[in-house]
């Protein structure tokens, strides 16, 4: 239990005697959402200046945020444990296709959601029981499910049987809120309560922060990882259902942009890829920024290709401005500046360096040392 408290972002104790500014700074330094807030500000300023339509047609914007955000929420649960679920977009596509291939709407939805849970469980099985890196396991799953979506749908969009239900689903129910946004809000609140107020969810942070410590503290790590992947699978399947209902047809190629945007949302929202830090609020802010960005680009008539460039750029920026990445880069830069790298460096990419009198002996020593150190 103590492990849980020290690794969760809100659970640290602060001496309250400091000044208000100092306390504020400390709270800020503990938060991880800074980059997402920054991006959101930039997007706000640009949209207010150049594309105010984003604000006036807020139903569209909110719908986009809900689409990106829903998948990103599921990802958050997995990334908090230091794992990654690349299969989310394919799960979305496959769930939509499965739902559309049932004649009965309710049965279809149930089957789709069950598929999501199953996909999550299979992913978790490969990650914790077999011991494959989650990037590779879920990547294999991504290809498998994408293929499955093609096979089930016969490589073309499938119309849902009950088109009226789909059209009704796209209509606002409370104020301007469509069912999609309500589902997103419910998922957000549920995940927030789960991750910060329920023991099982709080243990996610411990599992991500230090897996061995969590295991030693008696946390059933295997079960938690299963829970996390199943949450992610379920939420992506839910997103697939929502998507299919709104479009009244399931597209087997759905979701490739969603994959990119939801990853960017979660990562720029401050969910650390190594696990243990982050919050659903960060993901919400990140999803808002990316959703607004996408809508703004669409409304200004920018092509999908250019949108992909922009979102890919945001994702690349998000991973390299991760605190750990910046630290690594600073260390490298400093050692370069001080010239140590120049002296110590054996010329990592210098071919045939062992023939060179100056590099020779050192390189051979390096070889022996690395051979001892690695057990291959």
């Amino acid at each position: 239990m103590s492990a849980t408290e020290s690794t969760s972002p809100a659970g640290e104790q602060t001496p309250a005697s400091d000044g208000l500014i100092e306390r504020g700074r400390r709270i800020l330094s503990r938060r991880t959402e800074g980059r997402a807030v920054g991006l959101l500000m930039v997007v706000w300023v640009f949209t207010l200046l150049f594309e105010p339509l984003v604000w006036t047609s807020y139903e569209v914007t909110l719908g986009r945020i809900a689409l990106v955000g829903l998948v990103a929420l599921g990802l958050t649960a997995v990334i908090l444990m230091g794992e990654l679920d690349l299969a989310v977009a394919s799960t979305l596509a496959v769930a939509g296709v499965i739902m559309a291939s049932f004649d009965n709407l309710l049965l279809g939805v149930i089957a789709a959601l069950a598929t999501g849970l199953l996909v999550g469980a299979v992913n978790a099985f490969f990650v914790v029981i077999v011991g494959i890196n989650s990037f590779i396991a879920t990547l294999g799953m991504l290809f498998f499910l994408r293929g499955a979506a093609f096979v089930i749908s016969g490589e073309q969009p499938v119309r849902i049987a009950d088109v009226d239900a789909g059209i009704a689903f796209g209509q606002p129910v409370i104020g301007p809120l469509t069912p999609r946004m309500l589902i997103f809000i419910v998922a957000f609140v549920a995940l927030y309560i789960f991750l910060s107020h329920i023991r099982v969810g709080r243990e996610f942070y411990a599992v991500g922060g230090n897996r061995q410590a969590a295991r030693d503290a008696g946390i059933p790590v295997t079960r938690r990882v299963f829970t996390g992947f199943m949450i992610s699978g379920f939420i992506s399947a839910l997103a697939g259902v929502v998507n299919t209902l709104e479009r009244t047809a399931a597209d087997p190629t759905a979701g490739s942009t969603v994959l990119l945007a939801s990853f960017a949302a979660a990562i720029i929202g401050g969910v650390l890829l190594n696990g243990g830090r982050g919050s659903v609020f960060g993901t919400l802010i990140g999803a808002s920024a990316l959703g607004m960005l996408q809508v703004a680009l669409t409304l200004s008539g920018v092509q999908v290709d250019v949108q992909n460039i922009v979102i890919g750029g945001v994702l690349l920026l998000a991973v390299i401005t991760d605190p750990a990445s910046l630290r690594a880069a600073t260390v490298t830069a400093r050692s370069l500046m001080q010239g140590r790298a120049a002296q110590q460096d054996t010329g990592g990419v210098r071919l045939f360096a062992h023939r060179h009198p100056r590099w020779g002996p050192h390189v051979h020593r390096t070889r022996e040392m690395t051979r001892c150190a690695s057990d291959t």
């Binding site: 750029g313 990592g348 040392m369």
Partner: protein
């Protein structure tokens, strides 16, 4: 770190195992499968195809298999460096192959062959540098980095070309290269074998190859030994980029056309070939020669599926499954080795 040169003996807490010969350890099925299995599987698959699949063992079909295997194989041979360096894979080969193919055809049509090749090399170096710096210097996750560079690269390519198809000159050097054959072997297959041998030499005979392996099996030890690890990672991604560029050339020459969507599926086919060949995704173990076997396996499997009428969807499913299975065998082998 602060010392001038590292001490000759580092007190590194590694399980001090001797170089284990396969014979010295008790026989473990998963370990054997992950290192030697591919040879048997490939032979079995080819025999199966020859006996049971109609039309497999015909000359036109075999030439077709070779023609399709060559670009994937060249891409996979380059990407092997990234996998062995412990950085999982380079997803951006999809964008790189398409870019190289379009550049080769379009720029040759507009300016000439030499400027086209030079431009493609420059683009490949940029890809290697961007991926390598993000992964090697910033220590960012390779999958996420290359995923984003894929979207950036493909987005740029589609935006600049407008998704149009480029046709090569009907009797230019590209066309000649694509149609020349030595017996049943197309020239591209010969190029693939030559590239594999060359890269294999780089891998086994140079310091760079050695350091890629060292970095893949123990990053921290390699860094402490004074190796410029960011340079190793950048080098590995540059190898992958150059391989993808050559693969794009071969692909463009084969069909004498180029379009931005022509390389769909190259990422996972290449990865499947590498992993099935027995190179470990956990880094440090594997070789370029193994990738050659893996390419044969994946190509024959794909060809069987095409001949039996299973479409792109089934191929993706099969290859996704293949990746997960092969990695599972590797993971189980590691477990039995370490216990």
């Amino acid at each position: 770190m602060s010392s001038q040169a590292p001490a000759p003996t580092t007190p590194h807490p590694s399980p001090a195992r001797a170089e284990d010969e396969p014979e010295a350890t008790p026989f473990k099925l998963s370990a054997w499968l992950s290192t030697q299995g591919i040879v048997i599987f490939t032979i079995a698959l080819v025999l199966f195809a020859v006996v049971f699949v109609d039309g497999f063992a015909s000359l036109p079909n075999l030439t077709d298999v070779f023609n399709r295997a060559a670009p994937i194989g060249i891409v996979a041979a380059g990407m092997t460096f990234v996998v062995i360096s412990g950085n999982y894979l380079d997803l951006s080969v999809v964008a790189q192959v398409a870019t190289a193919a379009v550049v080769l055809i379009a720029v040759t049509n507009a300016v000439g062959l030499l400027p086209a090749i030079l431009l493609a090399i420059a683009i490949a170096l940029v890809y290697g540098l961007v991926n390598g710096v993000a992964v090697g210097v910033f220590k960012a996750n390779a999958v996420i980095v290359t995923l984003s560079t894929t979207f950036i690269g493909l987005g740029l390519l589609r935006w600049l070309t407008g998704g149009s198809i480029y046709f090569g000159d009907s009797d230019g050097p590209i066309r000649t290269f694509g149609t020349t054959r030595i017996g049943p072997l197309p020239l591209s297959m010969v190029l693939f074998v030559v590239v594999t041998i060359l890269l294999s030499l780089v891998f086994t005979r140079t310091n760079f190859g050695f350091m890629v392996r060292a970095y893949g099996s123990n990053r921290e030890a390699t860094r402490l030994a004074g190796v410029n690890t960011p340079a190793v990672v950048i080098g590995a991604f540059t190898m992958s980029a150059l391989g993808a560029m050559l693969g794009g050339f071969v692909l463009a020459a084969f069909s004498n056309t180029a379009v931005s969507s022509m390389s769909d599926g190259y990422d996972f086919r290449a990865l499947a070939a590498i992993i099935v060949g027995g190179t470990s995704v956990f880094g440090g173990r594997g070789s370029v020669m193994r990738t050659l076997l893996g390419v044969v396996f994946v190509s024959v499997l794909t060809n069987i599926m095409v001949l039996t009428g299973l479409g792109f969807g089934f191929q993706q499913m099969a290859i996704g499954l293949l990746i997960v299975l092969a990695v599972s065998v590797d993971a189980l082998a590691r477990k039995t080795r370490s216990s």
